[in-house]
Amino acid sequence: MRRAADLRATRKVARDTWWLEFDCPEIARGAVPGQFVMLGVGLDAPGTWLLPRPFSIGWRGHDGRLGFLLRTFGEGTRALARLAPGDPTLLLGPLGQPFTLDPERPVWCVAGGVGLAPFIFLAAEWAAAGRTLHLLYGERDGAAVFDLELLHELTGHDAELFTEDGSVGRRGRVTAGLEPEADAQVLACGPTPMLHAVAAAARVSDVALQVSVEEHMACGVGTCQGCVVRAADGRWLKACLEGPVFPAEALAWPS
């Protein structure tokens, strides 16, 4: 579960966005789409202090490789984006509750920004099992869009792409592409405003929705109680332990 893994390669795939691959069979083996890993540099790098940051498992290779999609945002992601093969890294995972899916029913994935990561993993697994799914992917503009060839190569799927400025794909919000069947299973991962929009849409069309939420994490395993999100009944839920994937109805949504 705790692994000093070798960073095999990093590759820039969009503005401020990198694709990282690690050799880590122990974590890859048990991983399920929707789970995450705490990614850090450990305690041995002189002059460096960095709490690990949570990252959705973005892909897994048969050879034990693990892929992550990383976008720089604050201090930690900027530091992690600068990692080069050979640098010390420490991975903790797989962690958290994955998406729970009925393979017989249609699947709609709604991805905003790096919220695409868990769906790369899921789409690849689905393809390997000879199944297919709907992948809706939205970004602010074209420069932020993930390398689409790499996406196809990894998942055997193509995304239905939306950009707010219309520079690539359809102009507008990703939610516009959501036309779920009555028995569809909708999965969403992305910025909170997007999750709200998807939740509203799912309520209207009355379909099952699972969302992957984000909150600051320190431990990733339930010991620090740092990562809480509000439950429908008002209690605090730990995103790392009871999440990050929740059935939409389990959470408190702004009405």
């Binding site: 960095l50 930690g76 431990c219 010991t223 620090c224 740092g226």
Partner: protein, 316 residues
């Protein structure tokens, strides 16, 4: 191979490294990640008389060389702890020692938790978290001499178990408070708890943390903790658990030389859950390298004569 065992609080500790309160849950959460029973022990998350919901998010964020946290002492309360948490500790910790971290808003609160737990099995003693605001007065128990003295006296009356007071660093001289604890019958001290801090989200122009402010921990406070431990050592004879910013044996040994017979690791476990075990191994290696047979010989072996506070006050 050097001998890490020592006798403290009348019992044997197999090793000097414990997991700090609030960073290891109630043990259980770390069960499949590290071999808890191979450590010196752990201190549970705070326990209050009634359950506490805790603060709104964000509860944690990184700060330079450390982190800020404002969990809000979320805990299941005395009953919940006894029913859902303590049984696991009792069942799984055979050699490692457990302390229960106790919080309250009034003397009564603390006494209720201690009295309510005292008959139970599965833990060694109490670590009293006095970095809590006292409803009457508003200031923390740990920063007000009379309030602290009265609290320790009261709790001493409630239990014969090891009673350890966790000092807050937000005072002019921790030595004064260390002495008070000794005079009022405490069995030991933990030094130190977090420093009050604040992180401002400059884009949203509001505190990044839901509670506005929080406690700062991690390597950033290492030298403050070592200093507080040393001051406490100068000021009383109680056994001291050194806490604050420890990542490895090098950090831990600074506390040990300053006078701590046990150390606790908190924030570093978030970076590497193995930090505590690696620290224990590193301490043993240091003892071997220096030909020191037993850990106990090293405690407080600092070549620096005691000096009055005046002489050690920070002087730019």
């Amino acid at each position: 191979m050097a001998d890490l065992r020592q006798s403290v609080f009348g019992v044997e500790f197999q090793a000097p490294v414990l997991l700090a309160s609030g960073t290891c849950g109630y043990g259980q959460e770390y069960a499949d990640l590290i071999e808890l029973d191979g450590l010196g022990g752990l201190v549970t998350k705070a326990v209050s008389p009634e359950p506490r919901p805790g603060n709104p998010p964000h509860r944690v964020a990184e700060t330079p060389g450390g982190m800020i946290n404002a969990i809000g002492l979320e805990n299941p309360g005395l009953r919940g702890f006894i029913e859902d948490k303590l049984p696991w500790l009792r069942a799984h910790l055979k050699r490692a020692r457990a302390f229960v971290n106790v919080v309250g808003r009034s003397e009564e609160d603390y006494a209720t938790v201690v009295a309510g737990l005292d008959g139970e099995q599965g833990f060694l003693g109490y670590e009293i978290n006095v970095s809590c605001p006292n409803v009457k007065g508003g200031t923390m128990f740990g920063t007000e001499e009379r309030a602290l003295a009265s609290l320790v006296r009261r709790l001493r009356g409630e239990t014969a178990r090891p009673l350890v007071v966790k000092l807050t660093p937000n005072v002019a001289d921790v030595g004064v408070f260390a002495r008070i604890c000794e005079e009022e019958g405490a069995d030991g001290l933990s030094a130190i708890n977090t420093f009050p801090g604040m992180v401002v989200d400059i884009e949203r122009r509001r505190p990044l943390i839901g509670n506005r402010s929080g406690g700062i921990s991690g390597p950033a406070i290492l030298p403050m903790g070592v200093y507080a431990t040393w001051r406490a050592r100068q000021s009383c004879d109680l056994p001291i658990m050194g806490i604050g910013g420890i990542r490895n044996a090098h950090d831990a040994l600074q506390y040990v030389l300053a006078g701590a017979c046990l150390v606790q690791i908190g924030t570093a476990s978030f970076v590497d859950p193995d930090a505590a075990m690696r620290t224990q191994r590193g301490i043993a290696a240091y003892l071997d390298r220096h030909g020191i047979g037993t850990f106990a010989e090293l405690v407080g072996r600092l070549d620096a004569p005691p000096v009055p506070i005046a002489a050690v006050a920070p002087a730019g």
